[in-house]
Amino acid sequence: MQPGTLSTFLKRGAIWGFIVLELIFFSIAGEFMSLSDNAFMDLDNMLLLLKQSAPIGIIAMGMTIVMINGNIDLSVGAIYAISAIILLDSMTWPIFGALGDGAIPIAWLLALAVGTALGALNGLIVWKTGVDAFIVTLGAMLGYRGLVFMYNGEQPTSHLNWTLVDFAEAQFLGLHTATWFLLLVTAAIWFLMNKTVHGRNAYAIGDNREAAVNAGIRVGPHMMINFMIIGFLAALSAVVFYSESGSVNPNDGELYELWVITAVVLGGTKLTGGAGSIISTFGGVLAIQLLRKGLSHIGADTETVNLVIGLILIAVLFLDRQLNIKGKEELKV
């Protein structure tokens, strides 16, 4: 085997190995500890798991490309909440009253447009002012959350449209609507990052910004496009989720950024930029959701999941570093 191949293989496959371990562990432990008679690897259970992964998963795809770019976005939870409010509220606006169910696509478009615009604003500020994305989106996280509250005070915004609910609960080829969105987004972002100029440039910028500038890549627009994409995806995630639930609290989406970043980091994307894979992020999202479901399946308190995920995140970071050190030593030989 070539030097370094083993560690590369370990790193690439680690998340899937982890998922298999989880499946085995929870299946066996479930036999002894579960209160329900259903097996953990029940088909319905797994389908549900995919569906429940969608809200975090869709945003995580956007976070991956922003992080590959060397940036970060802490405002996704707030964008998610704003888009949800726009989606539900706009359907009740009198100007769309005559349209009946025709208001649905307009509400979707409005929500997605708002999400994209807020993402674009973040991107524009990062580009034009040169302020670090961490600070810009930290501020935006507060600011956008403020906008959420200003829209409807501390009241929940509710509007249940049964056509929408039917659509969100529908199953096509066995998979739920939300799952389809997750899969489509994953495929689209994978294509974007691996088969287009934009994707290649995004990797280049994250890896070595100076070199990218010298190679004639315009850094600013690429960063801004990625922020627009994550804004769009945060809105899409909200649209998919709230079509079904029909009610949004002003605090909804809080801490989503942390879950999303955890999933992305579990998938092996580097905070420093330049490295990361969409497929591994998908694995990271599944791993987190499996852990949540698995722990509740074996009757652990739901609280335990925070503890376990936090420690796993740190362990992954540690292992990743050890593997990297090993890779470098092999390279020296």
Binding site: K128, T129, G130, G153, V219, D301, E303, G310, L317, R321
Partner: protein
């Protein structure tokens, strides 16, 4: 003064000028704003955030981040309230400090000695400590049984020399840590490690130990904040500190510290904390809802950092193509 000098003066003192403008504006809008009672009230309610920000300032200057302080504060609040009824306040307080310092030491070990990325480690610890708190309390709110008959309330509700105790703790700790940071060898090492870690290592500074100490300092401040919080309300939810980690960072950034490390002072952090507190209070006094401050804070943070780096690079817009 040349135009450039004026520009750099404005950028350097910008945050103080903005603070002054806000104070004047709010005073004109509502004469009660500068009322001593109101000012005291603002500082008092900023004390918890402020105490936490003091510790995190050390971490930020050393070039790291700490996102775990919010859930760590919830942890210490819950623990001290629980132990209060079990072993009495005199033992509960040191026990809580010891437990919180252990958490800080663990983070310091991971970031300092194992050299793991502080953002992810503390993100993980945010989640892990939240889980720990919930496991500890079983998800229940924690309340002191006998709220009237305990001297424990002195830290959050008491007065000494006519000044509320939380303010005394905040300002006393600020003075102590400010001197430690600016006048002692340890303080200079913190700046050295954050400014240029490699150079610091080559000049014989034990980087890992300095980072470790910074996290220990941070967790000590968090424990103090938890003590004030617990003593003020004598009962608490599990999520009392949720989100504070980002407000703390906002205050530190407002004060003008760089997240890259090597710059910032305790005094500036105190100013940042007070700005947040007074803006919040001022907006409430002129009749706006509490959430308007989020939007105002957003604008101020970005403007503050933007002007700061614009002054350093000598031009307003970034050179990014």
């Amino acid at each position: 003064m040349s135009k450039q000098e004026i520009g750099s003066f404005l950028a350097k003192q910008g945050i103080l000028i903005a603070f002054a403008v806000f104070m004047i504006g709010f005073t004109l809008a509502n004469s009660r704003f500068l009322d001593p009672d109101n000012v005291m009230g603002v500082i008092r309610s900023s004390a918890i955030l402020g105490v936490m920000a003091l510790g995190v300032t050390f971490v930020v200057i050393s070039g790291n981040l700490d996102l775990s302080v919010g859930s760590m504060m919830s942890f210490s609040t819950i623990v001290v309230l629980d132990l209060h009824d079990k072993i009495g306040p005199a033992l509960a307080i040191p026990a809580m400090f010891a437990m919180t310092l252990c958490l800080g030491a663990f983070i310091g070990f991971l970031v300092g000695y194992l050299k793991l990325n502080s953002l992810i480690v503390t993100l993980g610890m945010l989640s892990a400590i939240h889980g720990l708190t919930l496991t500890y309390s079983g998800g229940q709110n924690m309340d002191i049984a006998d709220k009237e008959g305990t001297w424990f309330s002195v830290f959050g509700q008491g007065d000494a020399l006519g000044i509320p105790v939380p303010i005394l703790i905040f300002l006393g700790l600020a003075a102590f840590l400010g001197i430690m940071l600016s006048k002692t060898p340890f303080g200079r090492k913190v700046y050295a490690v954050g400014g240029n870690g490699t150079a610091a290592t080559f000049s014989g500074i034990r980087r890992a130990r300095v980072v470790f100490m910074c996290y220990l300092m941070s967790s000590f401040c968090v424990a103090t904040a938890g003590l004030i919080q617990a003593s003020r309300s004598l009962g608490s939810q599990n999520t009392v500190g949720q989100g504070l980690e980002l407000e703390v960072l906002a205050a530190i950034i407002l004060g003008g510290a760089s997240l890259l490390g090597g710059s910032g002072t305790i005094f500036k952090t105190v100013i940042g904390v007070l700005i947040l507190g007074f803006i919040q209070n001022g907006l409430l006094l002129v009749g706006l809802q509490f959430y308007v401050q989020y939007v105002v804070t957003w604008v101020i943070i970005i403007l503050a950092v933007w002007l700061d780096i614009a002054a350093k690079r000598g031009r307003l817009w970034s050179p990014i193509a």
